[in-house]
Subunit: 327 residues, 2 copies
Amino acid sequence: MTARDIAPAGVHIAEIASFHLGGHAVRLSGRPKRVMQVSGDGIRREVDMNGTHVTGQLYTQQIRLMQPRHSAPALFWHGGGMTGAAWETTPDGRPGWQWLFLRAGFDVLVTDAVERGRASWSPWPEIYRTAPIFRSKEESWTLFRIGADQNYADAPEHRVPFEGQRFPVSGFDALCAQLVPRWTDHDELSLCAYEQLLRKVGPVNLIVHSQGGWFALNLAHRIPELIRAVVLLEPAGAPSLSAEQLHRAASVPHLVIWGDYFDRTPQWRTYREPVTGYARQLAQAGGRIDILDLPDHGIRGNSHLPMMDDNSEELAARVIDWLVAQD
Amino acid sequence: MTARDIAPAGVHIAEIASFHLGGHAVRLSGRPKRVMQVSGDGIRREVDMNGTHVTGQLYTQQIRLMQPRHSAPALFWHGGGMTGAAWETTPDGRPGWQWLFLRAGFDVLVTDAVERGRASWSPWPEIYRTAPIFRSKEESWTLFRIGADQNYADAPEHRVPFEGQRFPVSGFDALCAQLVPRWTDHDELSLCAYEQLLRKVGPVNLIVHSQGGWFALNLAHRIPELIRAVVLLEPAGAPSLSAEQLHRAASVPHLVIWGDYFDRTPQWRTYREPVTGYARQLAQAGGRIDILDLPDHGIRGNSHLPMMDDNSEELAARVIDWLVAQD
């Protein structure tokens, strides 16, 4: 399949649904009751936060086609500091991968991970142990590999991105408006909810970004039978696996996509190295792992956010081609 | 239009998009930098939260039909402690109002208000002034008018709802999984973002729940030209308006829908009284405000969440009939 096969306009949809999944109940006690104005001018009521709260759940929006053309859905997991909105409209207003994959005939699921977006989050230190971290525009500029540290400016017209940058820099402020806080000690909580999701909706074509890659590679060996194929956009790290784990993960076809400017952002080499090691070990274990290093293929200028870059539609078509070829 | 006119299956959709809107940039400084593990086992990086952050933005998902049958879209605003997920699948798995209105020929927009869900939130006390509040299952049971305080139990099979309760009690835990924290001092921040949204997408058919009603009634007199009609499901309070403000709001047709069990939950009488006063004053000012008190029409058993109750499809059809009649 190529980009030309994507229908030009309109999708016949059977259902748009959503659900929360996973998590567990915890009890808060000993917090003082307060009388507060909560909604409406001057109307006060007692607020009592003691009692039972749900924590650790994730959110999924599920869109089913009337006539899907592929047997397994595309399931999207966002990266750290983001939500499912990362797969919707690009920051400069073009169709996101959610829509492109629907047009290409996939049923699509988009999640908000535990603690992010519509999945909700819990108070600390009462339920979560630690405080969250928040990503600034400055850090986003650097870590998303848009430009050099010193070339960020408050005024959009004074920002100087890397030469040839494909991220739509006119949408950088729109990107930053979609960032959400994150916690750094919830890997197992998130993995548990993601695993429950795969048990409910799998097998799937799993398409993940950044920190979502870390989660996906931790599940590929736990439940390979529920992952038809995994596409890793700029995965942030990879686990060290035992021979037995590698053997299990090797039954899942992997595609890894890397953008440009790694030599300009040393932190990203740190995340990339373990993925290179993982790929070598998986191949040695007989697994299929294709590495699409875009600059090596003459495609320069992609940021850490290839699904938002100016060639996002071309990259989606490549991913779709690859997924179809795994049949 | 009646429920029978809603197409039985499938909707031809032209676009699923989303955007963040509103908010402003604020600068954090003086927070210590920390080296932390953020994503990936054992990989550490410096986390620096100082810098520029966006605060006060909202999130909107926008679904456009290939052939809308109404000139103005349906715009949904959720209530306090909730997100746009409130308009998606009901807690027991039936189609939500988002889907029912798409099937009935409306373009649909669903928002997450400032500080809720995909809209993101900001740290306190650095940016927000106060801490948020969290809604427990116990408080939800009472304030959503599912049952009496003393009849909530941890075990679903031991919960005793009000007699004739239409809320799908089997989905009560699923409802609680979608609750999000809220702040109590952000009315103006939220109104500002909602007003920007109406300026971008209006005029709209505005359909709001609970705290969303408070926001809608505050905007009906500020920008009546952008609200074709407003449907208030169980609005949580109403503002006191001047004669001039009433005159402006009176150009917007209002429909208010009330469920059952007000005599069992005194707090709700407190929220309802100002709405009754608002309605009387608006009618005196020449405005049209229809009150659909469901028990008065022989429809008993609705909770504070009529869009999730077992007659949600019938109520959607009534609202659609009313919206069509405003032409």
